[in-house]
Amino acid sequence: MKKDLTFSDFLLQFLSTEEWRRPKVLLNNLIGRRTVSNLFWGAQYGLLPFFNLFSKLSADDFELALKRLHKRGLIESQQDGKVLLTKTGKQEQKSVIDYISQFHFRGIGLHTNLNNIQQCLNLVIQITSEFSYQNNRYYPLQYSGQTMARAKQWFVKNKSIELPRKLHAELTDFLLTIPADEANAFTNSMIGHDDFGLTDQQIETALNVTPFNWKLRSLSLVAAFVKWASADSDTHFLCQQIVSPWLTTSALSTSSALSYQLYLKNTNLQAVANCRRVKLNTIKEHLLEAAILTPSFPFQLILPNKFSSDLETYLGARTINQWQFDEVSKLDSQFSFFEFRLLQIERGHIQYAN
């Protein structure tokens, strides 16, 4: 168990000894910036499982973490900012990957912001706890208007004398699915009547771990809760209702999902653009997002069945990250950047789960 895990250590898993990588891609994926280029490179670097888990990460803190890796001799940098893992870095990376592999985020950040769910859960527990002690004069936790409104709606809908007992039972069911130490940490941060829980720092001290170690564990606990609560079940409808308003079924943005559905119906890009009254290029961007994030994307509908032998030779001799569009267009002038990127996505390995 890496009790001393830092954010710098965590970044090592996304770096390589063979390929210079762009730090900006790491930062943008971790904070959940959804652009095609970012998602594409994020997929190549193994970032998608962790997409949007650290939405509040600042560029300064990220820079500082890289500087620390540099200082420890774990990475080297180019003038353009790209970084490469050193041999020492590679050794360190292995133990980090071993440790991180116990956390399963599975790209949940593509469907939600875990922070919002954590806050909504905190508020719902506080409201129910105060209600169980028949107290309606207390300081509610102050979150965004949307969080406050959803927690209130949940309470109004479920308010009954039985509510505290039922929520207690559902949370017990969940906590039995995780190790007792994790369940203790999860519940010790909860806020309720006359009982304000422990702060992050107090929990870190109790567990004797670094702030980042606890951050990752607490995110993983919320992710586990979301997975459990959103699974089809008629035994935990209260928790399901806390989670479901925050989750999208598709990993795509709403607009991309709409374009993709329309495309699947009529398979004509221009028709989709007309229908949605947006530029053709926008639809192409939406489909690229769909190609990256949808395992069953129908590449064969867009890409040519066969390529010239020169092109096939060029593509086969390199990894997809080494393909250069300029070179490819020389070999086949009909080949568009849209098709080029699609082909990279089709032939590349995309890791959806960690």
Partner: protein
């Protein structure tokens, strides 16, 4: 409006749970009932908010409260919620589109409407506000109106127009600290004549807080002294730092070396942890809070026995505000300022950095494309002056003067730190107050440990129930039972 004091006491008891008014409250309420505009200077902890909140129950018209920070608005809304008041809204950027629309469409249903001056300038909000007739127009932290004060906010200058557009409702301007010059400036900035405003000014002095300055030769000595003080002092208290990083480091050191339960509290601590820390502190489960000036918002703990400044504040107003957290129960308390030569460079550097340089002002005015790259606070400030049709030179001059004023305030703070005579006299002179009578309960220099002993502030309370440094976690089954009032 004819009012009966009996009725006021009845509301005081039923809505707020008090049987007596604090000094100044009743006087101000009487004046407001007679529709007099009031500028009230009441020291921290004397119940300024209660004045207008009580009127909210007396008048059958909504109360509009302008407050400078979202955190302050949230705090007031949460407090009113806790008192059982549902008809209260904080119109802030935290509301999403639907909630905002709902609130604006139902504004007449709220008893208390809080909003920031920036929000009041939005046409949609202004239109909704104009449809109502307000019982009272309240400007909280009114010293933000004064360019002579340390917390000047340009957006506050538009409040005079807002007041006019709302039909000049009776106005209450509230502040905890304002010199004579600042008070005059506030009245002028609200476009009111002196005879249109009743000034209710109470002494800023808090005689139950013993003032102490400790001079240390080195920062190591300061660190040692802080630990020694915390080992000696009983009860709970706040230690103020000027940097989040040092607040964090010292929290760890205090936890390990002083045996006190302690937590850091500043802008980097997330919302729910701030809430937990506030509540743990209020309940006496935490002894010491290591805070930056972000702290203070929302803390209403009566029995804080000590406030220690590890770094000096930038002006006497902030100092007074921060030490004012101590001894609200009127019991003996102590404020200790630890000083090492050179400490003044921190606030001085902060002052320098708080305004854009003349070159940056020039760039902002001449090159519109550069504006997006400015820090949001600076951009807001520069936009304000640009919209006032000021030239780059004029704005630079304004900033130069403001910076000078801040440096002057810092020098006064430094003069307090280096005072050889009576500290309280030095402090009160700044607020144009009469010379107090100095006695052994008043103040001291470099004798904090003796003072603690003389004032009996070294009485240790029973340690039970504290969150000890590194205490272990409670089993989850027990936690759930506690949370939901379930028996095992």
């Amino acid at each position: 409006m004819q009012i009966d004091d009996k009725q006021l006491y009845k509301i005081l008891q039923s809505k707020f749970g008090f049987s007596e008014f604090k000094p100044g409250q009743l006087d101000i309420i009487h004046r407001l009932c007679l529709k007099e505009n009031v500028l009230a200077v009441l020291p921290t902890g004397t119940g300024k908010s209660l004045v207008y909140q009580l009127l909210g129950y007396l008048l059958r018209q909504p109360i509009l409260v302008i407050s400078p920070l979202i955190s302050l608005i949230d705090d007031q809304v949460a407090r009113l919620n806790r008192l059982g008041e549902k008809h209260v809204i904080g119109l802030t950027s935290k509301l999403d589109h639907n909630q905002r629309q709902f609130a604006l469409n139902h504004l007449q249903d709220y008893r208390f409407i809080y909003l920031s001056p920036e929000m009041a300038n939005q046409p949609e909000v202004l239109n909704a506000l104009r449809r109502l007739t307000f019982g009272l127009f309240v400007i909280d932290e009114a010293h933000c109106l004064s360019q002579w004060g340390p917390d000047f906010r340009p957006d506050y200058l538009k409040l005079k127009d807002l007041r006019k557009q709302l039909g000049t409702p009776t106005t209450l301007m509230l502040t905890a600290t304002a010199t004579e010059a600042v008070r005059q400036d506030i009245i002028q900035k609200m476009a009111l004549a002196s005879d249109q405003v009743e000034q209710v000014v109470y002494s800023v002095d808090r005689p139950n807080i013993y003032l102490e300055v400790e001079h240390c030769q080195t920062s190591a000595e300061k660190k040692e002294k802080l630990i020694k003080l915390l080992q000696t002092l009983g009860g709970s208290g706040i230690v103020y730092f000027s940097s989040k990083k040092i607040a964090n480091q010292m929290t760890e050191l205090i936890g390990q070396q002083s045996g006190r339960s302690v937590a850091a509290y500043h802008a980097d601590i997330d919302l729910q942890d701030r809430y937990r820390i506030q509540q743990q502190f209020m309940q006496g489960k935490l002894d010491v809070i290591c805070a930056t000036s972000a702290f203070g918002m929302g803390i209403d703990k009566n029995n804080i026995r000590f406030v220690i400044h590890y770094h000096m504040p930038g002006n006497l107003e902030d100092y007074l505000q921060e030490i004012g957290r101590a001894g609200r129960d009127q019991q003996e308390s102590i404020a200790i300022l630890l000083y090492t030569a050179g400490d003044e460079y921190i606030p001085s550097t902060l002052n320098m950095a708080s305004f854009p340089s003349a070159t940056n002002v020039q760039t902002f005015f001449m090159k519109p494309e550069s504006r997006a790259s400015f820090e949001p606070d600076q951009k807001q400030l520069l936009d304000y002056y640009r919209n006032q049709n000021k030239s780059a030179q004029e704005v630079s001059k304004i900033f130069e003067n403001r910076q000078l004023a801040k440096q002057t305030n810092l020098m006064k703070m430094l003069a307090f730190v280096n005072e050889n005579g009576c500290l309280r006299q030095n402090l009160l002179a700044h607020f144009d107050e009469e010379e107090p009578k100095h006695d052994e309960q008043c103040c001291g220099i470099d004798c904090a440990l003796d003072a603690i002993s003389t004032l009996h502030l070294d009485t240790k309370d029973i340690p039970g129930g504290k969150i000890a440094y590194g205490s272990s976690l409670i089993p989850w089954q027990t936690r759930l039972n506690q949370l939901f009032s379930q028996k095992n």
